[in-house]
Symmetry: C2
Subunit: 452 residues, 2 copies
Amino acid sequence: MDEQVREPKAVLFSKRFPALASPTPALPYPMRATILTVGDEILIGQVVDTNAAWLGEQLSLVGVTVNRMETVGDDLAVIQEALEQAFAEGDLVIVTGGLGPTHDDVTRNAVAAFFGVPLVSDPAILSALEARFAARARPMSEKNRVLAEVPVGFDVLENPKGTAPGLWGERTVGGRLQTVVMMPGVPYEMEAITTAHVLPRLQERADRVVLHKTLLTVGQGESMLADQLGALDDLFDDGLSVAFLPGRGVVRIRLTVHGSDRREAQAALDRGLARLRRDLGDLVFGEDDQTLEGVVGAMLVERGLYLSVAESCTGGAVASQLTSVPGASHYFNGGVVAYGNGVKTALLGVGVDALDEHGAVSEAVARQMAAGVREALGADLAIATTGIAGPTGGTPEKPVGTVWLGYADADETHAVRLQLTHDRAINIGLSTTAALNLVRRQLLRKDAVLEA
Amino acid sequence: MDEQVREPKAVLFSKRFPALASPTPALPYPMRATILTVGDEILIGQVVDTNAAWLGEQLSLVGVTVNRMETVGDDLAVIQEALEQAFAEGDLVIVTGGLGPTHDDVTRNAVAAFFGVPLVSDPAILSALEARFAARARPMSEKNRVLAEVPVGFDVLENPKGTAPGLWGERTVGGRLQTVVMMPGVPYEMEAITTAHVLPRLQERADRVVLHKTLLTVGQGESMLADQLGALDDLFDDGLSVAFLPGRGVVRIRLTVHGSDRREAQAALDRGLARLRRDLGDLVFGEDDQTLEGVVGAMLVERGLYLSVAESCTGGAVASQLTSVPGASHYFNGGVVAYGNGVKTALLGVGVDALDEHGAVSEAVARQMAAGVREALGADLAIATTGIAGPTGGTPEKPVGTVWLGYADADETHAVRLQLTHDRAINIGLSTTAALNLVRRQLLRKDAVLEA
């Protein structure tokens, strides 16, 4: 019941920090920010604004509190009003979008007007623009010159992934520092400018450090993980906060520490990480931006092994996930999508007897598929999936969501059964994650046997 | 250059409607709305707010103008201020989130306070809640009773997908009708309530109808499509607006008509659709919510044909996309992910000569892969992909993004070459779409031959 009605929230554990009373400091910290997105196309739902969430996370991680996220249209007056409101309740506004060359791109003008400064053409940006056009042997139209315009007094933040730079402006009003940062709305350009320039500048201002690290786990849901970790008072007492961020079969656990001394903060973070790793053991497969398919790939490369897959219910999703990693050809030689039973028998050598006696979704068939694809493709190890993804096809004995995963190497074959959900896409996703994790766990087990 | 610096916007074509002067009407139309999202978890970037984009599109499609999207924290005063501002500039506020049972869920209280009405427990909601708990043999905790609370005078909008209902309130202030709608933040619940109750109520209010239809195209970029359609003045003169919504290899073209008479509006929409279909021909593969994989699947079922795939550069993505459709086993028997050359020769019968002479990324190998998988899996027709997805592996003759698609049926084999981008994920996505479209075009060509 609770699960039905609650909002989909990450589980957060933290002791509340006492509000930091900071009477009009020159560099107020923690800073309070508004994330302002400009663009008519967002208001009519043609584009989902993922920039705000990304910025929200990044700002939170350097200790900036986000008061508000707001999307407004390409309207000079409305943008100015939004800036007015944002600085009435905070110190920092990050604006994305509306910096292009067309007449409806008015962000630059709105910010300049709000700061009461004119726009001037920046020679360096202009010549970079002209060079870019020249390189493509195309004339630069007059309207593109606006891309070089900068409000007087603003810093230009180089764009590592494109031409339109970020712009950083600040002024002091009533003893409070107001900072505005403008960036293009193209996500990878915005992210590059933020990482290269905006976050370092914000961190420089901080009178306290904020450190964080995320552990990636697979194989247990968040409530089981929380049970396994027990009370977290030792972490809280060490000044750490803990967030559980669930995904499809993967739960990220993020530790954050705020402190005035970097070495102390780092030591507290290290203690917390060691505690989590000790209690979670092999459930942890990586850190921060790693992926399960990347980690499995690296483990295979390290051991000089090749993997093959035989997929029925996942229909190619396991192979697709493995090959999303550049260089996958160094450990993945291929797979068979054995959707029909005829393919299972013809290419994988699954026995007609096994299919008749146990059905395609069975331990016997999962094992034979794994062994068969391993042999057919000449791999060192292999995994197989067979199950009822849904929405139909279930029986009382094998309801929708029943999945068998098979495993085979030179020494052994075995299979494990999963009971998943009623949703086809979720079942395919969870089976794929579980199949990759099965490879990982088998490799770890072999390591342990070798060491013993 | 233009492509580099512009914001990622859909191309919109429309004659501007003259602003409708409407001096304080009882039912102002077009309505102006704010979409207000409540939740601390969104401000820190743990959840991407997709609800706002979905609502923005749905509201636009019934003729409501979205002024602003805004996300604020779980804070009573801040939510009230946001409502204040929203009604200062519009007539409608859609609030999602913050309706759960925990102490930080304050949306219900904030809206009731803003309207100046108390909350009362709704017996019907309460008994539904109690029944739900009883069915699970669990006691209902006291805090869950808050879920039954409704501001006095508000309508309860039944939730087809969950327990927490939507709440609809309205009042007239200074001759203007103010409407607020609260819904749970869980996307599928919010969408169900909006579709079942909110949009019909908004449409009832309209003094004009808004109709729309989306054509789905594949095989041409948006600028080529625009060229092929020529000037759209005939559509504009008929009161239609046209939006080009590009995706990964698929461009959606949406026609919208606003009018006072439903039959006239429908006739104009039909004329516009007929014109687009005439000029675009086979580039159109479907309408509205259809998918390319679904359309291809239905074409195969209709003709009683089975498809197989042999994938190198797409690594299982084509099979995965095909099997994302329930019932795919009626036309897809399977595939081979032939990532290593050994798999191409062993399972697909690709000649070592062809690999040596032309390389794996070549017309010869693409044709042999398609013919080979068709034979190995006993399919009626087959497609194959081989290419350099990147980011590395390119040569001057075959740069990253070079892809060959093979096709084979009982009568013929052939292959087509694509030159795509430098981005691995984009190349895999575009190759997958192109492979599915190759099947579609071949089936259409065979129909034409049979008819001739």
